[in-house]
Amino acid sequence: MDKKVLSQKSIDSTCQSMIKKAEDEGIETIWDRLEKQQPQCGFGELGVCCKICMQGPCRIDPFKVGAQKGVCGANADTIVARNLVRAIAGGTAAHSGHAKHLAHILSKSAKGEFKDYPVKDPEKLKAVAARLGVDIEGKNNEELAREVARLALEEFSEKEGPNLWAATTVTKGRVDTFSKLGVVPGGIDSAISEIMHRTHYGVDADPVNLLLGGIKCSLADYAGCHMGTDLADILFGTPQPVVTEANMGVLKENAVNIALHGHNPALSDIIVQVAAEMQDEAKNMGASEGINLVGMCCTGNEVLMRHKIPPLTHSVSQELAIITGVIDAMVVDYQCVIPGLANLLDCYHTKLITTMPIAKISGAQHMELNEENARECAGDIIKTAIDSFGNRKPEKVNIPKEKNTAIAGFSTEAILGALGKVDSEDPLKPLIDNIVNGNILGVCLFAGCNNAKVPQDHNFVTMVKELAKNNVLILATGCGAGAFARYGLLTPEATLEYAGDGLKAVLTAVGEAAGLNGPLPMILHMGSCVDNSRAVDVAVAVANKLGVDLDKLPVVASAPEAMTEKAISIGTWAVSGGLPTHVGVIPPVLGSDLVAEVLTVKTKELVGGYFIVETDPLKACEKLLEAIKKRRQGLNI
């Protein structure tokens, strides 16, 4: 495979060397499977295939010669809209499933049943309880935890009032806009099941009404994300800046390497705690450097943010981790854990360990998390990994050398803390002043996945350098943030190298005030994909302070390599939140002019935000910069 072909798969040199190794060993990876899937179905690419009932599948001819209606009479607009909102429901189910899991844990923890999950951040617990309207006076942690857990669990089922997590965390202006449109979600699960109802055979056929249903569901997704962040912080601690290293060079030949993969801290955080106590066991088995935990995808982000566990690799390159030959166990929970991992187990010694009852993979070893005995489960899993260390196949071992320093841990609290060092009376003031005086042109949140159809990280890295050069303050989450970590872009050095003068000055001033002896990293890593809610918190605080709504702020978002249904639901709530939101891959909606028009134009009138679909990263930057400048004009700054 020559350099050019490799760089079309991933721009990460460690990934490239592992792709080459896979090829030499005749091992199939995600890119081979993508190639075998070519050509992909044009009807599916355009979103005009409907499989909702058994009279189908029906397809609409985009060239308008063949069928223009499904058997039931649904046209392209209805079919595209139904497919899209079902994807939003899928994303919502995933994020909120994550949150629901934590809500159950908090509930049982408060009742003293889950002893391994004590409240780690009572301050956050208090803050969340107060925000939700709980009378916190005189209540101890257990009482507050019980209240918050009860309210959290109530947010899922049918309820009469608005969803608390959605309604209490956005601006008043947003609440008014959402109320006017009739898209305020009640229970999160109700919103999901309402989508499944209205997209059932013969229910909602009006594409605009369907899309409004999608917006409502996406706001339920937002609620789930915010709850996920809040509860994780309460149970495992609110992140503060940490320094670590990222990319495959963090693997150690003489350690038991355990990769923590998936999305939830429920097990991974406990594994981090227990592994610290089992170092000697690993050493006794011949692993002179003990246990080396590494992170992948958003589980990786969770343990990076709270425990500086080094991020290994992300998203489309997850199989390549195993191809290094030194991952003794890959412990997975749920979401973005691809079944293709199991295909590698014939050739490598790695133990693939599934841990969640709803996420098993044939070929993997299932060691289910029992929250009542979480530490014991974690211990068993680590023991399995230690045993696996002895089964390595030396001829298969090849650890790429590259690794880069990465600074992460920028929760909202941490960001406000750093800003507070500049102005302790009014922490937001330095941020707002610098936005107003133009040192910071605007803010961009990078989120979302990699996608095998895009050279891995190419769009992320190209765009972030361009925007930083133009003095855009960058926030990042999820696999995007992971990508930046692997290239050394979460560092003060990156600030000095790539940031425009204005941005550089601000990051330096804050960094110096915070005692870093240099600038803040160029990109503030805010956590996993549910932690996009942290970015909303910052934006809402700024909007409230300025007395304007979110759709007036020079704040934009981008998912330049989006892939999952979760990316679709997050993108939709970012738009609903008022943000111009870039997507770097073509979503399956072009089969309906009407739907495409609503998403990219009409939403501007309805909610202020809108989608920008642009596959060229530099052109995407131009469009985002233009959107930021327009917003600045609107604010007269």
Partner: protein, 168 residues
């Protein structure tokens, strides 16, 4: 590259992907996402027909002695080379539709503005560059293949032999 489009009806799932690929190939932009926005919209030349339980993608068979060419009053249809595509010269076509009447396969149709006839051109631009026609490359099950006649007949004979030996 010379060859014929061979159809394996057992492999055709009726997904219509060949039709999409054909229309895109006959568009200005040659890309699905922009082709669907072109004016006029490009049209496909291959059509998947369905009868009983069988699907069959049908396109011009590029007859060696093409009846359509014979009846064309303006010589708009011609077959320049043996074994190659039967082609239409749009400027000469007067839209009399006689060719449509005589084609035994129903493979010639009218453009959507009713002005021209359209039919498969065997993707001569692609095949002259050594590529297979668009319908073939868009078929996810390999029900469509572009192969030399000799190879096709050879495979056919093999198949026959296998069946024959099995049943005897």
């Amino acid at each position: 590259m010379k060859g014929l489009i061979a159809v394996d009806v057992n492999k055709c799932l009726g997904c219509h992907s060949c039709e999409l690929g054909c229309a895109v190939e006959h568009s200005q932009s040659k890309h699905l996402f922009s082709a669907i926005l072109e004016k006029p919209l490009p049209q496909n030349r291959v059509i998947v027909e369905h009868c009983d339980d069988t699907n069959i993608p049908l396109q011009c068979r590029h007859c060696e002695d093409p009846p359509c060419a014979k009846v064309c009053p303006t010589q708009a249809i011609s077959k320049p080379e043996v074994g190659e595509a039967v082609l239409i010269e749009d400027e000469l076509c007067i839209g009399c539709k006689v060719c449509i009447l005589v084609c035994p396969f129903g493979s010639i149709s009218l453009s959507k503005d009713d002005k021209n006839i359209i039919k498969c051109d065997l993707c001569f631009e692609r095949t002259s560059e050594g590529q297979v026609p668009a319908c073939v490359s868009n078929c996810p099950t390999n029900a469509l293949q572009f192969i030399p006649v000799e190879q096709f007949t050879k495979e056919k004979r093999r198949e026959f032999m296998v069946d024959f030996l099995k049943s005897s």
